[in-house]
Subunit: 357 residues, 4 copies
C-alpha cells in the first residue's frame, strides 16, 4: 500500500519534488465515460496557484497540466489517468545555502532522520508543491460528484491570525472575488493591511479554513475505521502545515451539553448540524462540514537557532519566495481533499450497498 496514494477505489498516487523535472499523479478507479479536459483541470489549478496576489509566493507556476493516459476522445476510459506538470520555474540555487542546515519547523531534519538522505531543493517531496496534484486529481472527482449526486464543495477562510470571519453570516458569492477566499467582503481591506504589515515584519501567521460539502447523500462512510469523518481527518491532516481538524462542532463539543449538541430530527429534516453531517462515521444527508488549522510558515528571513547536518549550532535565515500565510492558498487544497474522500466513499458505498448509492 503506497504511502503516496490516497483512496481505495478512486485511488490517487502523487509523485514529484519541488525542484525535480516534474510532478504528477495517477488516478486509478475513475468511472469511465466522464468528460474531462486538461483545460478544466488547469482552471482548478489556477485557484491554488502562487502569484495570484502580492500576498502569496511570487514563484510563478505555470501548472500546465497534461493528461498522459486514461482519457480517450475526451472521456475517461476507466483505466489510470496520469497527469503531469513539468517544473519550469525551479531556481535550485536559492536552496544551496541551506543544503547542510535544517530549517526549524520544516521536514528537513525528519526526512534526514528517516531516510538518511534528502533532496534539499525547496523542500523536495515535503514541499507544498505536492498539493498541486491533489487539486488536479480532485478536479476530476469534483466533476463526477457534481454530475452524479450533485455534490458541491466550497471552502473559505474562517480566520487569519487574529482576524476572524463571522461564520454565522457568510457571503458565499464573495469567496471567489478576493485572493483570500474570504466570505466577508468587508473584511478584505483589513486582511490586506494585516498581510502587508506581516510581510514587512518578515514574520508569518496561521489560518483556519472551513469547508462545506452540500448534497452529500446519506450513507457514505465505512464503519468503523473507514468512517467518513476519520478519513476526512486524515485527508486534512495530510495537507502540509495542517495541525488540527474538526468535524461539525469540533472542539466546541467539549463544553456543549448533550441537549445542545444532539441535533433533533423532524419529518422535515434535522434542526441543527453540530454533527457536521456525520453520525457514527456515516453521512446523514446534512451538509458535511470540517475546519482545518494551518500553522504559520516557518520559512522566514528572521533568523532562528538550528543545527546543521553534523549537529552543530547554526543560525538559519530563509531566503527565497515564501508565503507569509500558507493558509491563504489552502482553501482549494482543503476542498480537494474533501472531494477525494467523498468520491472514494461514494464508490465504496456502491460496492457494498448499490441500492442506496
Amino acid at each position: 500500500m503506497s504511502s503516496n496514494s490516497f483512496g481505495q477505489i478512486f485511488s490517487v498516487t502523487t509523485f514529484g519534488e519541488s525542484h525535480g523535472p516534474a510532478i504528477g499523479c495517477v488516478i486509478d478507479g475513475c468511472p469511465p465515460g466522464l468528460e474531462i479536459s486538461a483545460e478544466e483541470i488547469r482552471r482548478e489549478l489556477l485557484r491554488r496557484a502562487t502569484g495570484r496576489s502580492r500576498h502569496t509566493s511570487q514563484r510563478r507556476e505555470a501548472d500546465d497540466v497534461q493528461i498522459l493516459s486514461g482519457v480517450f476522445e475526451g472521456r475517461t476510459t476507466g483505466t489510470p489517468i496520469a497527469l503531469l506538470i513539468e517544473n519550469t520555474d525551479a531556481r535550485s540555487r536559492d536552496y544551496e545555502t541551506i543544503k547542510n542546515q535544517f530549517r526549524p519547523g520544516h521536514a528537513d531534519i525528519t526526512y534526514m532522520r528517516k531516510y538518511g538522505f534528502r533532496d534539499y531543493r525547496g523542500g523536495g517531496r515535503a514541499s507544498a508543491r505536492e498539493t498541486t496534484m491533489r487539486v488536479a486529481a480532485a478536479a476530476v472527482a469534483r466533476k463526477y460528484l457534481a454530475q452524479g449526486p450533485g455534490i458541491e464543495i466550497q471552502g473559505y477562510l474562517a480566520q487569519l491570525g487574529p482576524i476572524r470571519t463571522d461564520t454565522r453570516q457568510l457571503d458565499w458569492d464573495a469567496i471567489e472575488t478576493n485572493p483570500f477566499f474570504c466570505p466577508d467582503p468587508e473584511l478584505v481591506p483589513e486582511l490586506e493591511k494585516f498581510m502587508d504589515q506581516l510581510r514587512k515584519s518578515g514574520d508569518s501567521v496561521g489560518a483556519r479554513i472551513n469547508v462545506v460539502a452540500r448534497n452529500v447523500p446519506a450513507g457514505l462512510g465505512e464503519p468503523v475505521y473507514g468512517k467518513l469523518d476519520a478519513e476526512l481527518a486524515a485527508a486534512m491532516m495530510s495537507i502540509n502545515a495542517a495541525k488540527g481538524v474538526e468535524i461539525g462542532a469540533g472542539f466546541r463539543s467539549v463544553e456543549q451539553m448533550g441537549t445542545e449538541h444532539r441535533d433533533a430530527i423532524t419529518p422535515d429534516g434535522f434542526l441543527s448540524n453540530h454533527a457536521g453531517g456525520v453520525l457514527g462515521g456515516i453521512s446523514s444527508g446534512q451538509d458535511v462540514t470540517a475546519s482545518v488549522a494551518f500553522k504559520p510558515t516557518s520559512s522566514l528571513r528572521i533568523p532562528v537557532r538550528s543545527i546543521d547536518i553534523d549537529g552543530k549550532a547554526v543560525e538559519v535565515v530563509t531566503k527565497g519566495r515564501h508565503d507569509p500565510c500558507v493558509g491563504i492558498r489552502a482553501t482549494p487544497i482543503v476542498e480537494a481533499m474533501m472531494a477525494l474522500v467523498l468520491m472514494d466513499q461514494l464508490l465504496r458505498q456502491r460496492a457494498q450497498n448499490p441500492e442506496r448509492a
Copy 2:
C-alpha cells in the same frame, strides 16, 4: 481492504455488536516472540471498563478476554492473534422501545440509510463497546513498544465541560489514582461534584483528552498520505464521539506567528514542541502529542424530537445505562489508538529503512 481493520503491517480487525454473542479482534503482523498473556490484556481492559465509578455506565462488563490463536507457550508466533470476549451482561430488552425510532445524535439513522437494515440493540456495531477491542489489541502493541524502543504512552483528561486542567503543570502520577484520569488531583472533587449534578440533571457534557507518547524514535511516518499525524488524526477521529483532533499546538497555531510556532533546534535538542513531535508527517524524536474533542453523549432521559423508521415525528427518551460524559472513559482508548498507529508505523519504517528503525 476491510473497513473494520486498522493498520497496514500491524493490522487489527475488530468485530462484534454491543448485544451480540461476542466481540473480538484479529491482530495480524505482530512480531513473533513477544511474551503476552490474557491477564495482561485484561489489566488494560480494566482501565477502560464501565462500572469503575459512579460516574460511568453501571453496565458491568466482565471483559474476560480469551486468546484464541497466535500465542503458543506464552509467546506470539507471528500468526494472527485472535482475542474474544463473550457478551454476558447484554440486556436487549432495554432497547426494544427504540427499535423503530432514531435516537438523535446516534448512528441509528445513518446505519439505516446506509444498510437499509440494522441491529438496533444497544447501538449494535456503533456502540462504544467496539472500542474494547482497540484497547485489547493495543495492549499487545504497547508491550512491544515498551520493550523495543521504550515508547510510553500516557493520556489524561484535559477538560471536562467547562472545567479545564492546567496543562502546564501536570501531576503524571495522579492520573491513575482517580476515575477521571485527571492529572490534577485537586480538581477531582470539583469534577465529582460537577458529574453528580450532571447526572441528576439528566444531561451530558463533552470532554477533551490529551495524549503524549514518549521515546518515539525519529523517522516514523510515511509521507505524504501515510503521515504520522494524518494517521493519528484518522485513528482518533475513528473513536466514537470524537469531533476534533489536534497535533501539537493544534488550533492555537491559527493565531501564532511563525517566530513563535517554529521550534528552534540546538545541539541539545528542540527548544519547544509546538509541532507535537511531527514535522512533515515524520516523527522528530520529540514527544508526540495529540488532543481529542469528545462530544457529549446523546442518550439522555431528557426528551428530544426525532422521527421513527416511517419518517413520522416521535419524542425520544433514552433509558438504559449510559455515561453522562463519554470522555471520562476515553483516555485508555485514545492511548490505544496512539499505540496502534505507532506500532504500525514502526514496522513500516523497518521495511523501508531498516538501518534507522
Copy 3:
C-alpha cells in the same frame, strides 16, 4: 494489509491453529440483507470434512460453526461477520515426537526460519485446517452469488495420481455421490482400489482439481494487476499443497496455434472456450474455468532423511492421521476460493461500473 486477509471489498480474515483453542474468520464488506444461518454454513463444511470416507484422515472435526456477529434476525447487517469453530479433537500428543524435527515437504522449517519460533502442533497455522474457514466464508459468498447474478460453482476431481477423468464427458450429477468428487461414476471403483493400495503402502499421491463457474457476468476483473485470472491464480496457489494453476487451456496453450486457441465469436456467443472465460483479465460471460495441481502429502509413515532444529541429521516418520491424497478433500476448497474471488470482483465492479454490475 493483513496477509491473513483475502479480498478487497468482500474481505475475509482467517485465524487459528490446528491445535489451538479455535479457528475462525471475519468477513467484512458483505452486503446487508442476505439471509444466512449457521446451519447453511455447516452444510458446506460437511462437504470438506475429514472422516467422510476411509480415504481421508480419520480425525473427526465437528466443525460446529457459530456466527458471532454481523447477522441479526437471520440476515446480514453489513457489519463484520465473525465465524468461530472450537477445536475439539486436537490430540497434541501426536506431535510431541516431531517437536524438534523438521518434516520434509512441510512448513516446519520455513516457519522456523521466518519467525524463529513455531507452534509445532499439527502444523499450527500451516495446517490444512485453516482452509475450513475459507469454505465457511465462501458459503456466505456462494449464497449471495447464487441469489444475485445466479453464479454457480462446481469443482471436481480431474486426476488422482495416474487416474484421469475424461473431462470431455462429465456427469455433473455424479460428483456429489462419491467421496472423491469424481464426475465419472464408473471410475470410482478404480479410485477406491488405488487408494486402498496407497494407504497400505504408506505412500501418498497428488491430484488435479478442476473448477467451473457458470453465469459469471461479463466485466469482472480489474486490469492490470487485479485481473480476474491473476487473482484466481493467487487464490488457488494459496491453498495448502497447491503447486500449479491453469486458466482455460492452461499449459496446453504452449503447443496450441493461434488459429486453434483464439475463441471465435458469433452473434450467438463464443464457439469455444480456450480462454477459460477471461480475456485481458476480465470475464467475458463464458464459464470461468480453472485447474489446480495438488502435491502428494508429505506426512508419511515411510521414513525420510531430515534435520532437527539444531541442524543435525534425523530420520522422520510421521504418525497421526493424514490424508494419503490431500486432493480428495480439495474440491470444496477450490470452489470456495473461486467464490471468494468472484464475490470480491463483483463488488469491485459495482464500485467503478455500477451500470454494468
Copy 4:
C-alpha cells in the same frame, strides 16, 4: 487499492495506453540510497524490446525512459520514483479498421463489456506495451536485490510450441546470446526455422518460460494469503497472454508419490527441489523456480469469425505488427515479476521479522 498497482511496500503503479502520449510508472517504497540511473533501466528495457530480431514485432520502441522523481544526485531518496516513456512510434491508423470490431482472443470485447467504452488503438491499456513499465520498475528492484541479499534472477525459454528445451542440462551462458532466451544453443537453428515457417503461415504459437531466483533468503512469504507462491502466481498470471503458472514440480506433482515429491533434508541442505523453493508459502533458502504458459497471440492475418460492437457477425483480419510468439519476448517480463514479488516480500519480512531479513 489501485488495481494498476503491484506490491504492498515496494509498490509499483503503472499507467498508459499503447497509443496514448506516454506510458509510465510510479515506484513507491523503494529504500533510499540506491544508486540508479536511467541508463541502467534502459539496458533492461532493451532485453524486452521489440525489433530485436526478425521473430518479434517490427514496431520500434525507443523506450527512452526518463526518471522524473525520487532520485537525487544519482541515488534514490525514499520518495516515489516516477518513470516515463513517451510513445513515439504509435501508428494509430493501423487500428482504425478494427475500431468497431472485437478481435477474438483479445480484451476488446471484455473492456467494452466492463467499461462500456474503450481506447481501441493497439489494445489500449490491454496492450503488452504495459509490461515495459514492469521491466523498468523491476530494474530498480533487481539492482537492490543483487546488492543486498545477492538475489539473481534468470528466465529462459523452456518450450516454443512443440520444441522443448532439455531442462536437465541448461547452458546458462547461452541464454543472452540468442533472441529466444534459449538455454540450449543447439536448438536455436531449429527455433529459427520454426519461426520463419510460422511467420509465413500467418499463424502463431504458444510458449513456456521458466524462471529461477537464486540466493533467496529463507523466510520470505506471508502466510496465508500473501504466500510467496500465491503472489508469484498472481504476478505471472497478470502478464498478458499467461494461462498457467507452476511452482517447482507444478503439474508434475499430480502424478508424483509423496516419497518422490517431498524433498529430503540433510545437514548440508535439501536433496532435491520439487517444492520450487517454497514450503508453506515461505521461501526455504533453495532456488525459487516457476514456469509460465503463454498462449499464442490472437492477432493474425488469418481471418476469424467475430462480431462488431453492434453484435453483428464480421470477419476479422488483423494487420499491423505482431509477434507470432509473444512468449519469445516474455522472458524479461517473467523475470521482472519475480523481482517485484521478491523485493516486496523482502521488505515485508523486514517489517515483521527484522532479525531474519
